[in-house]
């Protein structure tokens, strides 16, 4: 092949790859655009033309959805539940993983399998038992029950990611600290944790996203509207306003927005964090 034909070949293959990726991206973006545009439309506009743009971009749908779906309550509940659960489960995962990875005691492998095995337990199965336990404890229908359950469900993933990381840390680091007279706990807090920042961030993202988005646990454990989380509030809203499309579209956008904004601000860290946990070199 001459240099010219190689260059032509390269150009053609690069064009083909850009074209393919553009189509893929369009398949992802188009439904989202449909959702966002729809949230500004009136009911008549929906039926007039499915592809049409809204006449004007007013926020009346959003204002109504905000007050009538009681977003201020459910948003606060979601923030409290997700925040507490992510914080607690990350803390527990860090401590448990460090013990499993570094402290000398029998049965470490068994503990590790026990924690990580939680990943394959079907949520539907365990929710029945959890529902009965929560009723017995008398904390059904409270935010506390949600925090407890989400914290527990976050631990298997945290242990999976963090044990791998702690084991890969050079032993010399903690040994040096021990020789200098530091206790296990001081070594852990001052030496190991700062090094584990990236992995801890991975755990926070992975657990944060699914806890924020989940509605199954909340659906089972709560019935009172004032303890509903954001997704649950929106789900109820569907039923009440099933024909006011613009209003429902707006409520769905409100539910999606916090995570999407966070994601767009930190795309690189999100993707790097996920892959760090999934495939090790």
């Amino acid at each position: 092949m001459s240099a010219g034909s190689i260059r032509r070949h390269r150009l053609a293959s690069s064009l083909a790859s850009h074209a393919t990726l553009t189509v893929v991206c369009a398949l992802v973006v188009a439904p989202c655009a449909f959702l966002v545009l729809g949230s500004f439309k009136t009911v008549e506009e929906f039926f007039a033309s499915p592809f049409g743009l809204p006449q004007h971009f007013g926020f009346s749908n959003y204002r109504r959805a905000w007050s009538e779906a009681s977003v201020s309550t459910t948003l606060r509940n979601s923030v409290v539940v997700t925040g507490c659960a992510v914080l607690l489960s990350t803390a527990v995962s860090c401590l448990a993983s460090y013990a499993i990875a570094r402290l000398p005691f029998r049965g470490r492998l068994a503990w590790r399998l026990l924690f990580v095995g939680g990943l394959i337990v079907p949520v539907q199965l365990i929710m029945i038992a959890i529902f009965i336990i929560m009723r017995w404890l008398g904390i059904l229908d409270t935010l506390t029950s949600l925090i407890v359950v989400y914290t527990t469900f976050g631990i298997p993933l945290g242990v999976l990611v963090l044990v791998g990381f702690f084991q890969a840390l050079p032993r010399e680091l903690s040994e040096a600290a021990t020789i200098d007279g530091a206790s296990h706990f001081r070594t852990f807090v001052h030496i190991v944790l700062p090094l584990a920042r990236a992995s801890i961030f991975t755990v926070i993202i992975l657990n944060g996203v699914w806890i924020w988005n989940d509605f199954f646990v909340a659906l089972v454990l709560t019935t009172r509207p004032n303890v509903a989380t954001l997704p649950l509030g929106i789900l109820d809203f569907f039923g009440v306003y099933s024909t006011e499309w613009g209003l429902i579209f707006a409520s769905v956008v409100i539910a999606a927005l916090p995570v999407v904004v966070l994601y767009l601000l930190m795309t690189k860290r999100f993707i790097a964090g996920l892959t760090a946990g999934s495939v090790k070199g």
Binding site: V29, C32, F47, Q124, I128, F216, V252, T267
Partner: protein
């Protein structure tokens, strides 16, 4: 429970979901990951978009698909009409023949994001020197892919397919949003997850008499099934990993 044909039909739906997504994952998602691995100035933008469905709540994804496929306000039917395929229009989610394929499409749309990212991470483990050496030796791009890239992807295949088994058999959120606890229409979108939920907590909230122990039995069956499928996949794929590395 073993004679409950509703449960078996739900389990069969899970199997279909797994099989179709298995096909899509190992061709389409892998292909997208390979394209995203090429150097380009807009790669970051492509990546951010391809990965977006992962951070969307299943509630949001389910809602988007429901309205897109809706015969009243949806865009899929008008689109088919406009390109001259008007005969393919359907009331997708209300038609028992098309509800399951529509559900699988929505699941694939969401699942593809994670699968692609994991493959992408796997591709980053391929040392560039290996590829360059093969190209210098005159290997075609197909041969480079087969003999250099694919072996390094073995761990990614393991992770993706085990996660897929968990995703497909544990599916709950999207089927619930699109079909409800009864798997509307007519049980066409019922999966094991929604069936267990319906049996345990009543089909219309907590007012109906429920059968918690029966649902427990179904749950234990699902757990065992998932354990077996995951173990088979892990054994098979990790043996493959060892083979390609040696």
């Amino acid at each position: 429970m073993l004679h409950d044909h509703v449960f078996w039909s739900a389990a069969l739906h899970n199997v279909w979901i797994f099989l179709v997504l298995f096909g899509i994952t190992n061709t389409v998602s892998l292909g997208i990951a390979i394209l995203l691995d090429r150097k380009s100035r807009v790669r970051g933008v492509y990546r951010a978009i391809v990965f977006l469905p992962y951070v969307l709540s299943p509630l949001v994804t389910g809602f988007i698909w429901e309205v897109m496929l809706s015969p009243n306000i949806g865009v899929v039917n008008p689109m088919l009409r406009d390109v001259g395929l008007g005969s393919l229009q359907h009331a997708w989610l209300a038609d028992p023949r098309f509800a399951l394929p529509a559900l699988i499409a929505a699941l694939a749309w969401q699942w593809n994001a994670l699968a692609t990212v994991i493959f992408m991470a796997g591709l980053q483990n391929v040392p560039p020197e290996m590829r360059e050496a093969a190209v210098t030796d005159g290997a075609s791009s197909l041969r480079v892919f087969r003999h250099v890239t694919l072996p390094y992807l073995a761990p990614a295949f393991t992770v993706v397919n085990v996660l897929l088994a968990i995703y497909a058999f544990r599916a709950f959120d999207l089927p619930y949003v699109l079909g409800g606890p009864l798997g509307a229409p007519d049980g066409a979108t019922l999966v094991m997850g929604t069936k267990i939920y319906g049996d345990a907590f009543g089909r219309t909230g907590f007012t109906v008499q429920t059968q918690m122990s029966y649902a427990m039995a179904e749950g234990i069956f699902l757990f065992t099934l998932l354990g077996v499928v995951a173990a088979i996949l892990l054994l098979y794929l990790s043996r493959r990993e060892r083979r390609v590395y040696s």
